[in-house]
């Protein structure tokens, strides 16, 4: 959910863009972190752990911990808490540690 009215802060956002998340089309703002756009759209489960498939979301939101790793445009282990959203991005829940298909 996005903050509509804040007593002290103004949120300057880029253009509205469409992106894909696990086959769905979602909207966000260009340049904001992918994880923020997902959060605003109600998506908080970003990956699943390798062995027990436990749902994982973000933790530090600053690029330190790798909890938010997702597959973005085919590239695994993208830190979605800092990676800026772009039009047409394909974002997928990462299963386990992520594999690079070269």
């Amino acid at each position: 959910m996005r903050i509509k009215e804040h007593p002290l802060l103004e949120f300057k956002k880029g253009n509205k863009v469409n992106f894909q998340f696990d086959g769905q089309t979602l909207q966000g703002f260009e340049g904001e972190p992918i994880a923020a756009a997902l959060h605003a759209a109600g998506v908080r489960v970003l990956s699943r752990s390798k062995i027990h498939q436990r749902p994982r979301g973000f933790w530090c939101a600053i690029g330190n911990c790798a909890s938010c790793n997702m597959r973005v445009n085919g590239v695994p282990n993208v830190r979605t808490c800092t990676e800026p959203l772009r039009e047409g991005m394909v974002v997928e829940t990462q299963q386990g540690k992520g594999e690079l298909n070269v």
Binding site: E5, P7, L8
Partner: protein, 159 residues
Amino acid sequence: MLSRSGVPTKKQIESVKPSKERLAKGAVAIVECFQEIPCDPCHTACNSGCILPFADINDLPQMDFDKCNGCGVCISACPGLAIFVVDESYSEEEALVMIPWEFTPVPEEGAVVRGLNREGEAVAPATVKKVRSSPQKNGAYIISLVVPKELAFEVRSIG
């Protein structure tokens, strides 16, 4: 105890009150600051020198109640939002209390809202007499509330 509950004790509040005579004369600033932390902008905020110069940055603020006219400029300069203005001369039964406010919605003048005490409990209806932007233009508001006089040292927020 303040360090356990986050709420000043009655004794602490008494320690920052001016005399009954001074309270009856008109608006005056009440600085509810009880912990020695490195902080002193309240002193520079007051244009009339009512908050005395600090010998050490960790000192608690000291008031000159006689100089103070309760203008409230210090309310929105205190980083801890710990300063309030109380005017017990407002009327026979009522007092005016000025509080800092950094939330939306900002109440409308004339509205009747719930007056909350330091524990966030509703203790009385409060009428919003005046709403002004902080003199420092920092986004905070100063709200003047009309409350029952016996609650002048209880009402510190609205909800």
